[in-house]
Assembly symmetry: C2
Homo-oligomer: 196 residues x 2
Amino acid sequence: MSSSTNSHSGDEKACTIAPGQVLEASQATTEQLLRHAVELARQGVRKRAGGPFGAVIVRKLPASEHSGKQFVEILASGHNCVLKTQDPTAHAEMVVLREAAQRLKRRNLSDCELYTSCFPCAMCYGAIWWAKIPRFWYASRSEDAAGAGFDDARIYECLRGTGHADLRGEHVTIAEHHEPFEEYLDALKHGLSELY
Amino acid sequence: MSSSTNSHSGDEKACTIAPGQVLEASQATTEQLLRHAVELARQGVRKRAGGPFGAVIVRKLPASEHSGKQFVEILASGHNCVLKTQDPTAHAEMVVLREAAQRLKRRNLSDCELYTSCFPCAMCYGAIWWAKIPRFWYASRSEDAAGAGFDDARIYECLRGTGHADLRGEHVTIAEHHEPFEEYLDALKHGLSELY
């Protein structure tokens, strides 16, 4: 399912970004990582893997005691793979988030940062949130994506309660609907520290 | 990664809902599927697999020519597995969406419907959207989840532009940011029908 890729097409800029690599954090590094995300997006289109979106996720390493310099380690990089995998959730951000969590063997990625070729859709924004990533960088804005026909804006409109709600949710109350929450709260009382 | 489960704990109601099963569509079936989603949510808590959320996804079968009756086939069912898998994206809805797409070998699930124990978070709402599912049913409301400490509401606030934006996105313009979109639009002009 994951789609880490570090292969290079002939005409692209020299790029050595690969999982495991350590880079010094700087404005130049931020731009380098965003350029790499954009290059991955291009590669995804060329491979017909999915939409024109790429992402890179890094882990912030503890600052060097001697120099005070900050370094980041590349955890995962990839592009949209919806077409290649026929998984409608395989957006670039999802692909790298899942791969990074697998690599670190933990769901909490609060020491990580994400670089994406374009502002994330609502699904990916939510996923970044749940992974507890505090900050992400993006190169293209939602409006740029909309200009290429990607209708993230309509999801945002639905979530904002503006415009027509294309995706309808029907509320049906059943007697036992609250039981899972009660069971969860009870587990919390009995020593469970966190469960989601 | 998927977590289809049809096992039963001792005290639950008799339940025969399993992938592959065909049910006649009716109000009673809707409630039955929601009760099953709720039961899966309880099982998820008991197994310490993840948060108290469950979901079922069905495929609508063509209406019978003779009787005009509508039937649905169970494609996948599961619960939140974030803790079990250490995948921060493994919410119940994501788990069943991914499993259903894998089962059908296609990303377009527009002939499917989803039943979830609770109104989906922004990530899952977006995923349901991208899978082109036209309608979903839910048992508990976001407010019910919030009462148990699940802070989906804060994501929605960020997406709505209200309240404090806990998750910050930083926009950095790099010269080539629009190239993937151009490449995509060019591919569309040269015969590619759809790419995401």
